[in-house]
Amino acid sequence: MLKDEISKALAPLKLERVEPGDYDKTGYHLEVDAAPEQMPEVAQALKSTGCFLDSLTALDFPEAFHVVYHFSSFRELCRTAVKAKVPKGKAAVTICRVYPGANWYEREVYDLFGLKFTGHPDLRRILLPFDADFHPLRKVFETEKADA
């Protein structure tokens, strides 16, 4: 089972949480919580098992941004959700050295949430104009203040 392989690959990292998920309920075979600075190693471990990066997005909670990474595999149906909690005012760590495809996803998260990724080679806005001065998916975003 790929799930066990991934758990084994993640074991040396001593992550906060590596739990099998209820696929029928949540759609994930494996749920992982990791510290943001561990993410490059987590990505490396997942890459060594042959997974690809499905999506990368963020959630805005009052105390922290949750960066959510989804991994899948072509070999067998095994979806992994990795959550990294980044406290407000801190930066996440890029995984685009491991998965080059994360480059634009991280730019999108930066664009819409204003969350910075340290080590990112080209952290510019991607969807909004380069001179925009707001991050629309933040909960505090008020459209009245936007430069319309």
């Binding site: 969807l127 909004l128 104009p129 001179d131 925009a132 707001f134 629309p136 459209t143 009245e144 936007a146 430069d147 319309a148």
Partner: protein, 172 residues
Amino acid sequence: MQGGFHLEKKTGEPLISFGLLTEALNLARANSLWPMTFGLACCAIEMMAAGMARFDMDRFGAGVFRPSPRQCDLMIVAGTISKKMGPPLVRLYEQMAAPKWVIALGNCAISGGPFYYPDQYAIIPGADLIIPVDVYVPGCPPRPEGLLESILVLEEKITKRGRLRKFRNVKG
């Protein structure tokens, strides 16, 4: 006016008119409008349908979609113009050789459509805010017949006679 874009004043009207020759040229232009292969959103799907065999824009000489703005004389703005797409749109328009015409296809290209609300940050509500538009085609999206009619209306505008006149009984 939207952030830094400027409205181009040139509409392709010649400085010197050669009378009959200009009319003959306009007749040729009106019956061989070459549109640009260029779609911004779902209206482009209707534009493709209008170009295909069933609706067949080629009947009116407008079926030759060119992949380069330098070979085009018609820009069909088919879809929502996001703020990011605005500058490239103006640039493509400016790369076209005059005389050139613009059709705003669908509600988004006319006025922002369903994406417009006060103080929105994402779109440019209307192609005519950044480039001069000749014909507006309402609809969300418009039927291919709508686009065909807009081509005929544009022919009317270019030749000042056109195919639709006899059906509409317009004197002129």
